[in-house]
């Protein structure tokens, strides 16, 4: 009986366990299926890789090799070579095969005396299979070392980037590192997706060895750099930069930032010469900003060329007082405000438009956003926050908002090219292409009035020294006080000239900027009209013929420009 009870008990226990076992079994099977799935995915991935083997592996390897070694040539707008690759031998050692380290070191140093003896010895005694001894030696050195017959020494052909024009277009081209990879400027753009961008744009059809043609003109670049260096020297400026822009296409025909560097020589990333002042520097542009203020007012329709603003008294705003440099102490018309470069007048014009409209207009001109071009270098403008009435007052005459010079050039070009905001480019571009994507920012009539004001300023205003006979130059000067230890300095200035030619139908904009120019003998001051303006004049004199702009005789006066326009209307 007892045995029977025991049996029944254990049976019931068994059935209980069975129920638990059922769950466990199901769950183990679930895990089993999961693992089968995981291994299935792994196998599928292997099969997928197996099928993608044939084409992709070789293609990928070839592409990687090609970009690591060869770079496309860079040509200027007329097809002249400005960057190319040459093949140079590099010296390496297989330290494990060197028989006599002392002898090898001695012989190598006879040919290459600039090598460091202890460094060579350390490399040769290491237990490695490969060690560079010197990258990029000359063919003569290669022949000499070859004749020494040292075992375990060899040569590899490497591509070396060469810039035949040296420092001429340094900041546009940028630089490559010892592995021929772009680290700066256009060279970096060529590496970083620029290659594919080229393909997409149809600039390159056959891999990356299709040369890259850029908008720069070597002759113009040479002239601009010459004159700018002379100007920097003459006015003893700390630094200088200049730019020539085709205002109808946005092509950058010339760009110089001084000091510059020779891209053929490796340089340190901290070298100040590598700093591209036009694209990575932000500056308070000074009175050239009055062009924006005036254009905004004229375009709104609320202000005309005949509107008058009172500049009798300095403008008091809180604890600040705004003075005029060429104080007239009377009521001024809009053209007078422009040509006398009146701070008070400009501030009043801006105030009459209101803070929001001012801000919106500058944003429309792209002055409040980071400007991106092909080159990796770019800087964010320094925008006051909060932006109150006082900010509008000062920004109206170019203080309190820092932008890159290239940005200011883009905005100024839009004011005189008929009203199109065209993003500058370093590549070739046609006028039609440029205008399809360019937003209109001001009316054609406003642009005509701005051309008139620019020309008038050369005839009677602060920019007289920019005049080049026959080329009908127009322009606006700007002298801004540099900030020193949080205050505006009285004797350290940044002088800018924005010039256009020919003013009645502008084709090119020339910008010249001198950083901390000094007063020269016989000059009254170190203002833009006396230094960067004459430099720009000399530049225009030299580049206008190169750019195919023909000099004209019997040019109209600025006043007749306006009357002709009015008659036509």
């Amino acid at each position: 009986m007892r045995a029977l009870a025991s049996l029944r008990h254990s049976l019931s226990h068994l059935s209980l366990r069975k129920a638990g076992a059922g769950v466990a079994r199901a769950r183990i099977l679930l895990l089993l299926l999961a693992f089968a799935g995981v291994y299935g995915v792994i196998a599928a991935r292997l099969v997928y890789l197996g099928f993608s083997t044939e084409a992709s592996a070789q293609q990928k390897a070839r592409a990687a090799d090609a970009t690591a070694q060869a770079r496309p040539d860079v040509l200027d707008r007329k097809g002249r070579l400005i960057a190319t690759d040459i093949r140079t031998p590099s010296l390496f050692a297989e330290p494990r095969r060197i028989i006599d380290v002392d002898e090898a070191t001695y012989l190598l140093l006879k040919i290459l005396p600039d090598l460091d003896r202890s460094e060579v010895r350390t490399r040769l005694t290491s237990k490695r299979y490969f060690a560079w001894l010197k990258r990029e030696i000359t063919p003569e050195q290669q022949r000499a070392i070859y004749r020494l017959g040292i075992p375990g020494i060899g040569f590899l052909k490497e591509y070396k980037r060469v810039y035949p024009n040296g420092a001429l277009a340094a900041h546009v081209l940028g630089q490559v590192n010892v592995d021929n990879q772009g680290i700066l400027g256009l060279e970096k753009w060529i590496d970083s997706g620029g290659l594919s961008a080229l393909h997409q744009a149809g600039f390159a059809t056959n891999h990356n060895l299709q040369p890259v043609q850029i908008a720069l003109d070597l002759d113009v670049q040479q002239a601009v750099r010459d004159e700018l260096m002379a100007g920097k020297e003459r006015y003893k400026a700390q630094a200088a930069n200049a730019l020539v822009l085709d205002v109808n296409t946005g092509e950058i025909v010339s760009m110089v930032s001084l000091p510059d560097f020779d891209p053929n020589k490796p340089s340190s990333p901290k070298d100040p010469a590598r700093f591209n002042r036009l694209m990575t520097g932000v500056f308070e542009m000074g009175s050239t900003f009055k062009a924006m203020t005036t254009a905004m007012a004229l375009d709104s329709g609320k202000v005309t060329l005949n509107s008058k603003f009172d500049a009798t008294q300095p403008l008091r705003y809180g604890k600040f007082t705004i003075h005029d440099f060429h104080a007239q102490r009377r009521v001024l018309s809009v053209p007078e405000i422009f040509t006398y470069s009146s701070n008070i007048g400009s501030a009043k014009i801006a105030l009459s438009m209101g803070v929001d409209a001012h801000k919106a207009f500058l944003r429309k001109l792209g002055l409040l956003d980071r400007l991106r071009t092909e080159l990796p270098e770019s800087a964010m403008p320094l925008i006051p926050n909060p932006w109150g009435e006082l900010n509008t007052v000062t920004i109206a005459f170019g203080h309190g908002l820092s932008v890159t010079p290239l940005q200011a050039v883009m905005a100024t070009a839009a004011l005189i090219n008929g009203g199109y905001l065209i993003t500058p480019t370093f590549l070739r571009r046609s006028e039609a292409d440029a205008k399809t994507n360019a937003p209109r920012v001001i009316k054609q009539s406003t642009s005509d009035q701005m051309r008139y004001l620019m020309r008038l300023n050369v005839e009677v205003g602060s920019a007289k020294r920019a005049e080049v006979e026959g080329y009908f130059v127009g322009g606006k000067t700007g002298t801004s006080e540099k900030v020193e230890r949080g205050r505006y300095s009285k004797n350290k200035v940044l002088t800018t000239f924005m010039g256009i030619f020919p003013a009645d139908k502008p084709r090119y904009l020339v910008m010249v900027m001198l950083d901390e120019p000094q007063k020269v003998e016989g000059a009254a001051a170190a203002t833009a009209g006396l230094n960067s303006t004459p430099v720009a004049g000399k530049i225009i004199q030299r580049i206008a013929p190169l750019l195919g702009v023909e000099p004209r005789t019997n040019l109209p006066t600025a006043q007749s420009m306006l009357q002709l326009r009015n008659a036509a209307n």
Binding site: H13, A24, I28, V38, I42
Partner: protein, 382 residues
């Protein structure tokens, strides 16, 4: 041929073990040696020793490993539990000591040097801990009064704490995952399964946001452009260069530039020389071992044996699949050695120990006899 007429120790063993499973394991070991032949010479030359130094070492370790495997597979369930208890006790002490007396390698202290041999105690702790966990969960079924869940959780916490101190996140992930799987098999409610799953996701999320190197690995996986993906790019290139049949033994070049070609990335290195077909065979062998062992587990009547088999199989499966998936860029990079293939003496012997237990537990045995003798409910005796 082994005679079935007499019940010798070896004869009984031979006729009761799962010979297919055993065969698959030996096939993996054999393939492992061949792959190491390809993958280890670059490391050996870098260290300035004979090119086949690591192959010889690994072959040398195979002798004790096979002995451990066979010896363990001769044990019965009760002896296995006891062995595991001893192994676990010794190894946990050693694991606890490594942060103090271990040698620092690549920023972590996981190795102990004993009599000139480097030993990684966490490798031995792993299978022992899993078997003990299986035991605890099985006891929970048999004796509901015992606070077995509490014991299991506490021991897990202790082990995790010790591993994180080394630090060794790979082993931690393996142990925690298998522990959770055992809990799941032994009848965790679905609600809890969801809860623990959610907790796992949350902690992954937290790790992504708080631990920089976890974040960078995941970022690099999701967006290869965001950082240095040299290892994984090279690994994939290795598969592509190898193609279906490989470039031939000794013809590989990727192994020279992959820093962990002999360990974490051996699968990729093998692919270049021996081809994707061989990789597929390896995957098939691993999946055969795991699936067959889990199949055994699902048919097993005894709760302890069921859980122990499943646990060891899952450990093996998880480790091998993570290692291969990382090589194939299916999951973010996580250093994980491929069982029996990657170089390493500790790992080889510990694997032999684990697989020996697997072979032993999956031996054919008369079920009712076991159930009657060993798992007689206590109440019945009274």
């Amino acid at each position: 041929m082994v005679s079935r007429a007499q019940r010798t120790l070896f004869g009984e063993w031979w006729w009761t073990v799962d010979r297919l499973l055993l065969g698959a394991l030996f096939a993996i070991v054999l393939l492992g040696i061949i792959l190491l032949l390809a993958a280890s010479p670059p490391l050996a030359t870098r260290l300035g020793v004979d090119p086949f130094f690591f192959v010889h070492r690994q072959a040398l370790y195979l002798v004790p490993a096979v002995c451990v495997l066979i010896a363990t597979s001769l044990l019965d369930a009760r002896q296995i539990r006891r062995t595991c208890l001893i192994v676990f006790a010794v190894s946990i002490v050693l694991v606890a000591l490594t942060p103090f007396i271990g040698a620092e390698i690549k920023g972590a202290r996981r190795w102990l040097s004993i009599l000139g041999f480097s030993l990684q105690p966490s490798e031995f702790m792993k299978p022992a801990f899993i078997v003990l966990t299986a035991w605890v969960f099985a006891e929970a079924k048999r004796n509901p009064q015992m606070p077995s869940t509490a014991i299991a959780v506490a021991s897990l916490l202790a082990v995790v704490l010790l591993l994180v101190r080394q630090p060794d996140f790979g082993q931690t992930v393996l142990i925690v995952s298998v522990w959770c799987a055992l809990f799941f098999i032994s009848g965790l409610r679905w609600m809890w399964v969801g809860g623990i799953g959610g907790l796992a996701l949350t902690s992954l999320f937290a790790a992504y946001h708080t631990i920089p190197h976890v974040r960078s690995r995941i970022d690099r996986f999701l967006d290869p452009g965001s950082g240095d993906t040299f290892q994984i790019d090279t690994a994939i290139e290795s598969f592509l260069r190898g193609g279906w049949l490989g470039r031939g033994p000794g013809e590989g070049t990727v192994k020279r530039i992959l820093p962990d070609g002999h360990a974490d990335f051996i699968f990729a290195v093998a692919a270049e020389e021996f081809g994707i077909v061989l990789c597929l065979i390896l995957v098939a062998l691993f999946s055969f071992v795991v699936v067959r062992a889990l199949w055994h587990a699902s048919r097993e009547e005894d709760p302890f044996m069921r859980l122990a088999i499943a646990g060891i199989a899952l450990l093996f499966g998880l480790q091998s699949s993570i290692a291969m998936a990382v090589n194939l860029h299916l999951i973010p990079s996580k250093g994980m050695t491929l069982p029996f293939v990657s170089y390493g003496g500790s790992s080889l012997i510990s694997l032999a120990f684990g697989m020996g237990m697997l072979i032993s537990l999956t031996r054919k045995h008369p079920r009712l006899r076991d159930a009657g003798r060993e798992y007689e409910p206590r109440g019945a005796e009274a």
